[in-house]
């Protein structure tokens, strides 16, 4: 019997692990089948046709990269601007559909494209041979050198790539520049982060001696911040320029994009019109660009943080109760399922779970919105912890209580509901409160998949204002006010439960 139980547990634990490659395989299959039909003109047209039928072109970008793409606010609302955004607007207009922009970390873009979350990437993405293996590129519309962004005070010390020997150089994860550092600057100490805005904060606080970024971006930062200075890295360009990235095999859409790009290149729209426009945006909001003027961003972030927390607490509690009961069940199967669920969810990082739900399950259910994915992941995770808290609560109630209830004719459900649970709840109240506060704080992890909760909005404000610490401080205070209020409320109810006795 024991042996059987162990096997059962193993199978249940192995199940999601076995499932993952299967779904990955399924995704592989669909992409290879679409490339197999490359030759067929009908199928190719279908991909462009699909966008047209849908009526929207969903573009993924990492909007912290002025002047390529960044955010500004218009009437208090986030507006995506930059010359790549202008290019995408033109492209959407040319094929007659609406443009939808999805803002996420640069290193999530390729995954999002592969899993069909987005139709194409406009993210200052350089063509490289590695990337060519997984995506199709459009024609090049911009070629940017890589520049070093440094503190102005180091201007005399740091003059070329060699002067960074033994120093720390940062680059955005997954970018060409991060590859360049490891390849062309072996003596330097390369460090990567997901957000360029965080890198610049790091630079300003001397965590980094320099940041290697695209020329246009480096110049934009330098001109907006008098303490920063940008200069040409003169590193050999290993990339073929910046282009749009599409899923492999999707050539009809690529061809349509190339038509737009050809027109843009012919008219030199980027240099003549869109770059100056971007510069204007950067200047115009520099004047009234205080952190506090972005209060609406924080408000929106707060709203989403509260939504995620409240909904996840609700479902986490239901799941937790369910799994606690399953774990205490005499039914071996239910018990094993609950043990596996709890162990697996507690034994893997929440960040990974969030990304797995969004990208993994999202690969099967294409329309899964990030907010929903985030709520699912946080609820599932919280359910595991709540299950253990509730289990300990139930087990803390003496058996005599159940026996007394049963001897009075109550069935198992009534005994649990009217006798055991009220007492258990009182015992576990502090632990539940702890979990609630943890959940509120951990909801910030959902920012990795682009949900506009407080942390994500903070990053937007950081990159929009070029200020790193103040937005963080404000966010920290908001979280603290939330958790402090919450813990007072919980304490009040704890006191009331005690008073009853």
């Amino acid at each position: 019997m024991k042996c059987f139980k162990h096997w059962l547990m193993l199978i249940i634990i192995a199940f999601p692990i076995l499932c993952a490659p299967v779904s990955a395989f399924a995704a592989d299959k669909s992409s290879s089948s679409s490339s197999a039909t490359d030759a067929s003109q009908v199928a190719e047209n279908a991909s462009l046709q699909r966008i047209k039928q849908k009526g929207t072109l969903v573009v993924g970008t990492s909007a912290d990269y002025p002047p390529y793409e960044f955010t500004t606010k218009e009437n208090g609302k986030t507006k995506y601007v930059g010359f790549e955004v202008s290019l995408m607007r033109q492209f959407a207009k040319d094929i007659g559909v609406k443009l939808v922009i999805k803002n996420m970390d640069f290193d999530s873009l390729l995954v999002a494209l592969e899993t069909g979350k987005i139709d194409c990437i406009a993210g200052a993405m350089n063509i490289t041979n590695e990337r060519k293996k997984s995506v199709d590129f459009s024609n090049v519309y911009y070629t940017g050198d890589s520049y070093f962004l440094i503190n102005k005070s180091d201007k005399d010390k740091l003059v070329n790539a060699k002067s960074f020997n033994g120093k720390t150089v940062g680059a955005q994860n997954g970018t060409l520049q991060s590859t360049m550092i490891s390849k062309d600057m072996p003596q330097a100490n390369g460090k990567g982060l997901a957000k360029l805005s965080s890198l610049v904060i790091g630079l300003q606080s001397h965590k980094y001696d320099g940041v290697l970024v695209d020329a246009a971006t480096a110049k934009a930062y330098a001109s907006n911040n008098s303490n920063l200075y940008a200069f040409d890295s003169k590193l050999p360009a290993t990339a073929g320029g910046i282009a749009l990235a599409f899923p492999k095999g999707d050539t009809s859409l690529v061809n349509a994009a190339n038509q737009t790009i050809k027109k843009v290149n012919d008219e030199n729209l980027i240099n003549k019109k869109w770059l100056p426009e971007s510069a204007q945006y950067m200047k115009s909001y520099k004047k009234q660009n205080t952190v506090l003027s972005y209060w609406r961003y924080f408000a929106k972030g707060l709203e989403y943080t509260l939504i995620i927390t409240i909904v996840s607490v609700f479902f986490g509690f239901i799941l937790g109760t369910l799994f606690a009961l399953m774990r205490l069940s005499k039914n071996k199967l239910l018990h094993s399922i609950a043990v596996c669920y709890i162990e697996f969810l507690r034994g893997t990082p929440m960040m990974v779970q969030i990304m797995f739900v969004y990208f993994g399950i999202g690969a099967i259910i294409q329309s899964l919105p990030a907010l929903l994915a985030g709520i699912i992941a946080v609820s599932l995770n919280s359910g595991a912890y709540v299950a253990e808290i509730i289990r300990s609560g139930i087990q803390s109630i003496p058996l005599g209580q159940t026996e007394a209830a049963r001897s009075l004719g109550m069935d198992k459900n009534k005994a649990f509901r009217y006798v055991i649970m009220p007492q258990a709840l009182k015992n576990i109240w502090p632990a539940l409160g702890n979990e609630l506060i943890t959940l509120l704080k951990d909801s910030s992890l959902v920012s990795v998949i682009g949900v506009t909760e407080l942390m994500f909005q903070t990053q937007l404000v950081q990159s929009a204002t070029y200020k790193g610490v103040l937005p963080l401080f404000i966010t920290m205070m908001i979280y603290f006010i939330l958790t402090f209020t919450l813990s007072r409320i919980l304490l009040y109810f704890e006191g009331r439960m005690k008073h009853v006795q």
């Binding site: 007394a404 004719g409 109550m410 007492q423 009182k426």
Partner: protein, 247 residues
């Protein structure tokens, strides 16, 4: 006579892993009878009592209550029959998060769907019966052991049971509180309630019981009227037991 049987056990056996606590018990309780089960500790008295309402599931054998075999029926039917079998525990098992009257009215309201007002009225009457009406709004922690056990008796009576099972109801009490509980039980027996009482109170057993069941080593060794049993026990185990406790 057989129509009068309220509880009947046939070849009852109960094992806990390798330990056979009840070996082979066949007995019955008639309506209106008061049975006192006595015997040395470890004899299986409590286990036997708990088998009567299936708080312990018998390993083999049959337990009949009003003609229904409790080991054969569905959980739902068992719950319905348990309503008619009140039980009082050694450790009281009052619900600590509820006050006295809430303890009493919970089961009538939730199991029998009796309206709260009616349940409260019945509860107050029962509290008066056990002499604790003024404690209705107090919590179990504020009561003495004797008071707690009287509340527990009232709580069991609130379901209007046909038989009351007492599992060493005075064993956890300070000596000066034993009497108040026994008095309540005495009154209850006088009112004609069928009772099965596991007890160490020989005086009570002698005075109140219609029959003494003497248990030892997993068997009921002998049964008899109290006068006969205490005066002339027939089994060696009973003689030995009485000699020890009556010293």
């Amino acid at each position: 006579m057989s129509n009068n049987k309220m509880i009947e056990v046939q070849n009852l056996q109960k094992k806990f892993k390798n330990n056979t606590v009840l070996k082979d018990i066949t007995e019955h309780v008639d309506k209106g009878q008061v049975i006192c089960v006595i015997g040395p500790s470890g004899a299986g008295k409590s286990t036997f009592l708990r088998c009567l309402n299936c708080l312990e599931q018998p390993t083999s054998g049959k337990v009949f209550f009003e003609g229904n075999d409790l080991t054969k029926i569905t959980d739902k039917q068992l719950n319905q029959l348990r309503e008619k079998m009140g039980m009082v525990f050694q450790g009281f098992n009052l619900f600590p998060n509820m006050n006295v009257i809430e303890n009493i009215k919970l089961a009538p309201m939730k199991v029998k769907n009796i309206p709260e007002k009616e349940a409260e009225e019945t509860g107050m009457k029962l509290l008066e019966k056990v002499g604790l009406a003024e404690k209705a709004k107090q919590y179990p922690d504020q009561l003495s052991g004797g008071q707690k056990q009287r509340v527990a008796i009232a709580r069991a009576l609130a379901m209007n049971p046909e038989v009351m099972l007492f599992d060493e109801p005075t064993s956890a009490l300070d000596p000066e509180m034993v009497d108040e509980v026994l008095t309540v039980m005495h009154d209850l027996a006088d009112s004609g309630m069928t009772m099965v009482v596991v007890t160490h109170e020989m005086g009570f057993a002698h005075e109140v019981a219609d029959q003494i069941w003497f248990m030892a080593d997993g068997y009921i060794q002998e049964t008899g009227k109290p006068d006969e049993f205490f005066a002339h026990p027939t089994s060696d185990r009973a003689k030995e037991f009485l000699k020890k406790i009556l010293k």
